[in-house]
C-alpha cells in the first residue's frame, strides 16, 4: 500500500502540490493563458482584416519605426531589470529588489510616454479609429479605414496592460518587506508577459507596415 502511494506520488511528482507553485502563482499563470488568448484573438482579427482588404503601409522610418524600436528596447530592458528584482528578492536583498522594481516601473512609464508621442504623430497626421488621413487614402486608393481601429485597439490594449503593470509594480515595491518572495515573482510574471505581447505587436503592426516608395 505504501509502495503504491509512493509510486503514485513519484509519478505525480508532488502529491497535493502537483505543480510545486503557490496558488497565487498558478492563478497568475492561468490569467496569463487567458490574456494571451485575448491578444491572440486581437492580432488574428487584425491579420484577418489585413488579408481581406487593401491595407495602408504608412510607417515611416522617422518617427514611427525609430520610436517603436526604442520602445522595444525600453521594454526588453525593463524585463531585464525585473529579472534582477526577482533575483535580488530570492536572495533576501529586499531594498535592492525594491530599487530594481522601481527601475522597471520607470522604464514602463518611459514606454508609455514614447508610445503617447508616437500616437500623437499619427493623430496629427489625421488618423482616427475609423478614418484614414486624406493623404493616406489618396496614396492607397480603396484602403480599409479599419487600419486606425486595429492600430489604436491593439496598441491601446497593450498600453493599458503596461499602465496597470506599472501600478502593480509600484504597489509591490511599496510593500516588498511584507510580501513573500513568490509575490514579487508573480508581479514579474505579469511584467514579462506584457513584454512578450509587444514582441508580437511590434513586428505585426509596425514592421509589416513599413512605408516604401
Amino acid at each position: 500500500m505504501a509502495t503504491e502511494a509512493q509510486a503514485l506520488t513519484g509519478d505525480w511528482g508532488g502529491g497535493v502540490h502537483p505543480y510545486r507553485v503557490g496558488h497565487r502563482k498558478l492563478g497568475m499563470w492561468l490569467f496569463i493563458m487567458s490574456d494571451s488568448l485575448t491578444f491572440s484573438a486581437l492580432l488574428m482579427g487584425y491579420a484577418y482584416l489585413r488579408a481581406s482588404n487593401i491595407w495602408p503601409t504608412p510607417f515611416k522610418f522617422y518617427p514611427s519605426i525609430v520610436f517603436s524600436s526604442m520602445m522595444t528596447l525600453v521594454l526588453l530592458s525593463s524585463s531585464l531589470t525585473m529579472v534582477m528584482a526577482v533575483s535580488a528578492s530570492a536572495h533576501r536583498k529586499r531594498s535592492k529588489a525594491r530599487m530594481w522594481i522601481i527601475a522597471t516601473a520607470v522604464l514602463g512609464a518611459t514606454f508609455i510616454v514614447l508610445h503617447a508621442i508616437e500616437w500623437k504623430h499619427l493623430i496629427d497626421e489625421g488618423l482616427t479609429p475609423f478614418k484614414l488621413p486624406a493623404e493616406w487614402a489618396e496614396h492607397w486608393p480603396g484602403a480599409s479605414p479599419l487600419f486606425g481601429a486595429t492600430f489604436f485597439g491593439i496598441t491601446g490594449m497593450h498600453m493599458f496592460h503596461v499602465f496597470t503593470g506599472c501600478i502593480y509594480l509600484l504597489i509591490v515595491a511599496a510593500r516588498v518587506n511584507k510580501l513573500k518572495h513568490e509575490d514579487v515573482e508573480i508581479s514579474g510574471l505579469y511584467w514579462h508577459f506584457v513584454d512578450l505581447v509587444w514582441m508580437f505587436v511590434f513586428p505585426m503592426i509596425y514592421l509589416l507596415s513599413v512605408y516604401s516608395k
Binding site: G13, G14, P18, Y19, R20, V21, L26, W29, M33, S36, L37, S40, A41, M44, A47, Y48, L49, A51, S52, N53, F61, I65, S69, T72, L73, L76, S77, S79, L80, M82, V83, M84, V86, S87, S89, A90, H91, R92, H181, E182, E185, G188, L189, H192, F193, D195, L196, M199, F200, F202, P203, M204, Y206, L207, L208, V210, S212
Partner: protein, 114 residues
C-alpha cells in the same frame, strides 16, 4: 519545506544567463527591424518575422518567466493547450482570402463589339 524557504529561495539562473538572453532578444529585434527594410515578398517576411517572434517569446517564457525551471507538470498544463487554442484561431483565414474576392471591384471592363 517551510524551514528551507525561510533562508534563501531556490532561484535558478545567473545574472550572466539573463544578460545573454537579453542580448539575444535585442539581436533578434535588430534583425527584425533590418528585415523590414529589405524588400522581401510579404509571405517570406511574415514567416521570418513570426519565427523570430516565436523564438523571442520562447526565450522570455523559458528564462525570464522561469518556466524552464518549473516542474514539467506545469509546463505541460500551460503550453500545449495554449498553442492548440491559438492555432485553432487560424481556422478563419480561408474566409478572409475569400472575402477579398467578394469585394466590389468596380464596373467590368467594357467589351468592344465589332
Amino acid at each position: 519545506m517551510s524551514a528551507h524557504s525561510e533562508a534563501e529561495e531556490h532561484f535558478a539562473g545567473s545574472n550572466r544567463l539573463f544578460m545573454s538572453v537579453w542580448f539575444w532578444l535585442l539581436l533578434l529585434t535588430g534583425l527584425e527591424v533590418f528585415l523590414g527594410y529589405i524588400q522581401l515578398p510579404v509571405v517570406y517576411m511574415l514567416v521570418i518575422l513570426m519565427g523570430a517572434s516565436i523564438i523571442k517569446a520562447a526565450l522570455i517564457v523559458a528564462y525570464f518567466m522561469h518556466l524552464r525551471f518549473e516542474r514539467l507538470n506545469l509546463i505541460l498544463t500551460i503550453v500545449p493547450a495554449l498553442v492548440i487554442c491559438i492555432c485553432l484561431l487560424l481556422v478563419f483565414f480561408p474566409d478572409s482570402f475569400r472575402s477579398k474576392h467578394l469585394r466590389y471591384q468596380g464596373p467590368p471592363p467594357a467589351v468592344e463589339k465589332d
